[in-house]
Amino acid sequence: MARKTPVSPKKPPAAEEVPFWRRNRRELTFLILFAVLLGAGFSLISLNWVNDHAIEPLTAGIARTSGAVLNLLGQKVTMAGTVIRSPRFAVNIRNGCNGVEAMLIFLAAVLAFPASWKSRLAGLGLGIIAIQVVNLIRVVVLFLTGVYFPKIFDTSHTVIWQTIVILFGVMLWIFWANRFAAPPAEPAA
């Protein structure tokens, strides 16, 4: 029995015939841009000038706000720079505890993703505020952990809360990308 084979002048190439780069162009562009922006962001905050004029004041602001919340909770703390102190416990908020890492990951991901500048700026504004709110909760809870459950402070400080804050930033980005960033335009045929 003769079989009819469709004649197509421009047969689309099979997926395996398309080079890897072209097949995964969008993912690779995002990943490279993200890695470059993230590396640049972290290199920038490692400069002494940036650390002294931007990161330290931000961290001191986080310490003051956390201290105010702890005082509202009856902890009777005093603040000096990035240190929060009470008669029972004291913490010094350093890089890694100020939410800057989660902010930079979120910022790099939002900027690297194809979206309009309007949704990027809205995402960045709301996202950074949300990350700092979660970070504020982290500092307050960690201080209370240090006061009442000092044995689990170390694990809570590194493993639990760092995971929660970074995961929150990632989830926020996925939510933003899925709901608020414009779908990518189809490539021209």
Partner: protein
């Protein structure tokens, strides 16, 4: 009798299902990680020690386990009293595995087989990353943390190179790696499920 038509049940969006799944997976993944941590720490120390020794002649570095979580960097060419040059928490190197597990297991609308396959590949890449991170930590310690010995053996460029590389690996890519891998494996699922932009 009028026929009643059941209203269609609104299904939560893909992103919301992912967030819900992530919350559900968090505790089981963290418990599993806690369980395998002592074994994984031993494996990491052994592998990183071999990697460090590949880059030094004669081989003088030992990575000695202190307990289930901590380890010492030891140099055999130092006097016995000062041979334990530094200690570090090995567990801190790899707690990003919790994030990796949660992110990869939480993706909705993906068959289990593909989910586990992707998680396996991502885990393999992360193991290599963790070994390299300890390697960089040892080099960073030698270059910047041993005072006059560091100054005598490492120039300004080397000290900056090992310092910056460790800083970027420790803070930036340790936290971003699970996300980078997730995007690598699930970018198409994310964009396929994208909803029309708002605003």
């Amino acid at each position: 009798m009028a026929a009643t038509k059941a209203a269609p049940i609104a299904r939560p969006s893909w992103a919301l299902r992912l967030v819900r799944n992530a919350l559900l997976w968090m505790v089981p993944v963290a418990l599993l990680w806690l369980l395998v941590t002592p074994v994984y720490n031993r494996f990491l120390l052994g592998s990183a020690e071999n990697l460090v020794r590949l880059t030094e002649y004669p081989s003088v570095t030992d990575l000695l386990r202190k307990d289930n979580h901590f380890a010492y960097i030891s140099r055999r060419d130092f006097p016995p009293a000062t041979s334990l040059v530094h200690s570090f928490r090995v567990t801190d190197v790899h707690f990003h595995l919790i994030m990796l597990g949660v992110l990869f297991l939480a993706v909705p609308a993906v068959p289990w087989r593909r989910r586990l396959e992707n998680l396996g590949w991502a885990f393999l890449i992360t193991i290599f990353f963790d070994i390299f991170r300890i390697f960089f930590y040892v080099k960073f310690t030698y270059a910047t943390q041993l005072g006059p010995w560091s100054a005598a053996h490492y120039g300004a460029f080397s000290r900056n190179f090992w310092g910056l590389t460790y800083h970027v690996l420790d803070l930036a890519f340790k936290f971003a790696l699970p996300f980078l891998l997730w995007v690598g494996f699930y970018y198409q699922d994310l964009t396929a499920e994208m909803q029309p932009a708002r605003g």
